[in-house]
């Protein structure tokens, strides 16, 4: 009857909802509500409620096609890394700050940097980066006017209650995203540059996100609007510790977005890829294409706490404990430092062992945590004096061609983590239902250059010609895929 109970955060997005994970002596995992968590008061979205699924597949170590323990996997990884050139390392923030720091130390040893996979950071001037850091969620509740470039219901659900609270406090809410939001006073299909029409001022707040497929242009334009109007930006991030991973980066010189990394592999500029709890197969819109590209690598080394699709094609998998058992901290999208109650240090030990195998010093949890402290103190000191940035010249976000039909991804935790959900349908507007003569309760046929499939559909007010999906579809080739739709 012995149970272990861990205080932890949800890995689903950078809101960082607090929760308990209960683990029975037979290994069964269930979720319990941590009502005293100031971030979410114990409340969880669909993804958080399904964490037992997320944690159900345990990872096992392997090297060169054989199952093995950590030491053998580390040795195999080291022998591949010794003398390897053209190495890229990726950690999007699906792990603790401490493991991310350990990974950064390993990158130093290998003479490279850790990429966080978000292209915006690579392409915007460094003085802009601090302006993309999160602010306390309570500030959302106190804003006077809020412009949303995200769909909070689907992408960052625990923001909904903050927005509803803001509304009760008198805020005026405008949705500029792809879907019509019930909580918004006004739903307008706006591009970032059109925000100038909205009379924003210093009491206004723009909420958007940066993720591995965000167009840097979009963020550039919003930064310009913020500069012109005094409006603040709340930038959400997709993974539990993306905020931490980004704040920890000392310099972003040479950093790449995930698509750039994949192109680098295709071109042969990257021959070795080391991943820390980050799976390009899950992160890229076209799953089968991502697998093909990754197979071109000479060395694919994975350090991971869960069994995700990339493990199947990796040369080496170094298995660590599940996230909830790790000793360490996370920084959420409001800049709050949260701590796990778990005491697991498999991840740090494995990275340290790998570092020693490569001839550098090893390190322990205390040392990497010490580094985190130093960085936090530096960040806190710089918090009140964010550098100034200048207005940027930017291109325009490509407009949709008239009459074209596109399938668009609505990124959400289920998509990033290839988790099952009952969102097996697409969203399309009434006009399309009529023109395609779709039958109530029936399906719509979607054709792309990759093939054809039938999907259930739901009618929503989405832009004309746009079909939205909250699930990755095998016919997609990019985040926006040109398709043909037919009634069936």
């Amino acid at each position: 009857m012995k149970e272990s109970i861990y205080t932890t955060v949800c890995p689903g997005c950078s809101i960082g909802c607090g929760l308990y994970i209960r683990e029975s002596d037979k290994g069964a995992v269930s979720v319990d509500f941590l009502k005293s968590s100031p971030v979410n008061l114990g409340k969880l979205c669909r993804f958080g409620m399904r964490l037992p699924h997320y944690y159900s597949r345990l990872v096992s170590g392997k090297a060169e096609g054989q199952d093995c323990g950590t030491e053998d996997a580390v040795r195999a990884a080291a022998s591949r890394l010794k003398g390897a050139g053209k190495i890229a390392m990726l950690s999007v923030g699906n792990t603790t700050c401490e493991e991310h720091i350990a990974f950064m130390k390993l990158a130093e040893t290998l003479g490279t940097v850790v990429h966080t996979g978000i292209p915006v950071y690579a392409q915007l001037p460094p003085e802009c980066h601090p302006h993309l850091e999160g602010m306390p969620f309570i500030d959302i509740e106190n804003a006077e006017k809020i412009v949303l470039f995200i769909d909070p219901y689907v992408q960052y659900p625990l923001l909904v209650r903050r927005l509803l609270a803001a509304k009760r406090n008198g805020a005026y809410i405008i949705s500029a995203g792809r879907t019509e939001l019930h909580l918004a006073h006004e739903n307008r299909k706006l591009s970032p540059e059109q925000c100038a029409e909205l009379d924003l001022d210093s009491g206004s707040l723009i909420i958007t996100d940066v993720h591995p497929h965000t167009d840097p242009c979009h963020i550039q334009q919003l930064l310009n609007i913020a500069l012109d109007t005094g409006a603040r930006l709340q930038v959400m991030k997709p993974f539990v510790n993306s905020e931490g991973a980004d704040r920890l980066a000392k310099s972003r010189a040479g950093m790449m977005g995930i698509s750039q990394i994949m192109s680098g592999i295709e071109r042969g500029d990257i021959r070795t890829l080391v991943l820390l709890d980050s799976d390009p197969v899950e992160l890229m819109p076209d799953t089968s294409r991502a697998v093909e590209v990754l197979k071109k690598l000479e060395d694919l080394i994975v350090i991971s706490s869960r069994d995700s699709p990339v493990n199947a094609i990796a040369d080496v998998v170094i298995a660590t404990e599940p996230l909830y058992r790790k000793k360490g901290t996370f920084i959420n999208a409001e800049g709050k430092l949260q701590e796990n109650s778990g005491q697991g240090i498999d991840g740090i030990d494995a990275i340290s062992m790998l570092s020693r195998e490569l001839g550098a010093d090893g390190f322990d949890h205390r040392q990497v945590h010490g580094y985190l402290h130093e960085r936090m103190i530096e960040t806190l000191a710089s918090e009140n004096r964010k550098p100034e940035y200048c207005r940027m010249e930017c291109g325009t976000v490509p407009a949709q061609q008239n009459g074209a039909c596109t399938l668009e991804y609505m990124y959400n935790p289920f998509m990033w983590f290839s988790q099952p959900d009952d969102n097996g349908f697409v969203l399309l507007d009434r006009g399309m239902v009529k023109s395609l003569r779709l039958k109530k309760g029936g399906t719509v046929r979607l054709d792309s250059e990759k093939g054809s499939m039938d999907m259930r559909y739901k009618v929503e007010k989405v832009p004309e010609g746009t079909i939205l999906t909250g699930r990755k579809l095998p016919i997609a080739t990019a985040t926006v895929t040109k398709i043909k739709a037919e009634g069936c």
Binding site: M1, T7, K35, S37, L44, C45, G48, A165, K458
Partner: protein, 383 residues
């Protein structure tokens, strides 16, 4: 030997357990004795994390039970779900006890092997709201708090340096703090459907604060208490007339207050506005399913009508999930507040459900969770 119906004043014999307990440690001692003597295989205890947080665990370790005393007013958990499928003893506020009884009616719990030591309950508060209340109303740092208690309608916080501050619960609630909304209109304050009903109402004189008023509700309660007395964990004596009268008086006053709140919240909805009302209330629902997961009277598990008839792809004007749940729980919702607590978009689910269920329950004079003799009325009607 005690008898069913006895009203007693008692406490734990171990001075540590007695002083750590909320009022004499009798409940802790009774639970520990049940485990010690093999009456049960495990005990549900609240594992304290700090002043505002505790998590229910099931333990077979007597020492862990003995260390678990004290009432946590800022821990609005419901323990009923932890009872399912196990031979256990548990403490329980009226809503915990009622949850267990409703589960027993649906074969989710075997009451023969589940022992419940009931706790009177004036209400619980949300931990984050409590912290905010401490800062705003008590001008006290939540980290400085060393304990809290409710006395004579006032909520009293004691700081680590021994200072006490008291504010009336009415004043706190007028300012939007205090008890959760559902606790304000909760209709059961003494858990008469438990095996023992324990509380501090009626504990007066020199034992005030260090003993518990305990009513033996049934044979199982008698077994529990006799067992605890036999192993020397507990001492009891009969409560005198004055103690009994005071307990009754406070209970009546609390119930009256609850009825006043009910009238305020459960106003009728005109027929022609009903659909719009429910559509509007649930418009922001993200269908996380948390309200079903935590509901202590729901025993359906994965294969449930509300999820079976509902699909996210549906374009119904009102979610079938809620439509089915409203109907399905109309005979069993006990207003425990769990669903509102966990709703990620702050829908006042409990008030909506209780408001829906109230007229039907009232019409049939049916109070869910009070005894096993009356089956769920929807079941009877369908037969």
């Amino acid at each position: 030997m005690v008898r069913v119906g006895d009203k007693l004043i008692g406490y734990a014999t171990d001075p540590d357990v007695r002083s750590r307990g909320a009022s004499g440690g009798l409940v802790t001692a009774v639970l520990a004795a049940a485990l010690e003597k093999g009456l049960v295989e495990g005990v549900v205890v609240l594992k304290r994390i700090d002043e505002y947080e505790a998590i229910p665990v099931i333990t077979d370790d007597v020492q862990e039970v003995l260390a678990s005393g004290g009432s946590m007013h800022a821990v609005p958990v419901n323990l009923a779900k932890y009872a399912a499928g196990r031979k256990i003893a548990m403490p329980g506020k009226p809503c915990d006890v009622r949850g267990v009884i409703e589960q027993a009616k649906r074969n989710g719990v075997d009451l023969e092997s589940t022992y419940i030591v009931g706790l009177n309950c004036g209400g619980t508060m949300h931990p984050v709201v409590t912290r905010e209340m401490l800062v705003r109303m008590y001008e006290t740092d939540p980290e400085d708090v060393a304990g809290e208690e409710i006395e004579k309608g006032k909520l009293i916080f004691r700081t680590k340096d021994g200072e006490e501050k008291a504010i009336s619960i009415d004043e706190l609630e007028d300012a939007g703090y205090g008890r959760r909304e559902n606790c304000r209109y909760c209709t059961v304050k003494i858990p008469t459907s438990a095996d023992l009903a324990c509380g501090n109402w009626g504990v007066i004189g020199e034992v005030a604060g260090s003993a518990t008023f305990c009513e033996v509700m049934n044979e199982k309660g008698k077994r529990l208490l006799d067992n605890a007395i036999d192993v020397g964990f507990v001492e009891v004596r009969p409560a005198d007339g004055k103690a009994i009268a005071i307990r009754e008086k406070v209970n009546s006053a609390m119930l009256k207050l609850g009825d006043e709140w009910k009238e305020r919240v459960f106003t009728g909805i005109p027929d022609q506005e009903r659909l719009t009302y429910y559509m509007e209330q649930f418009a922001d629902c993200i269908h996380c399913g948390a309200c079903k997961e935590v509901c202590p009277v729901c025993t359906c598990g994965e294969d449930s009508k509300c999820t079976m008839f509902h699909s996210l792809a549906d374009n119904y004007r009102m979610s079938m999930y809620h439509m089915v749940r409203l109907l399905h729980l109309s005979d069993s919702c006990i207003g425990c507040g769990q669903c509102s607590d966990v709703c990620p978009v702050d829908i006042p689910v409990t008030s909506i459900f209780r408001r829906f269920a109230d007229p039907a329950q009232k019409k049939r004079n049916y109070e869910p969770g009070m005894d096993l003799t009356r089956p769920p009325f929807l079941e009877v009607m369908l037969k």
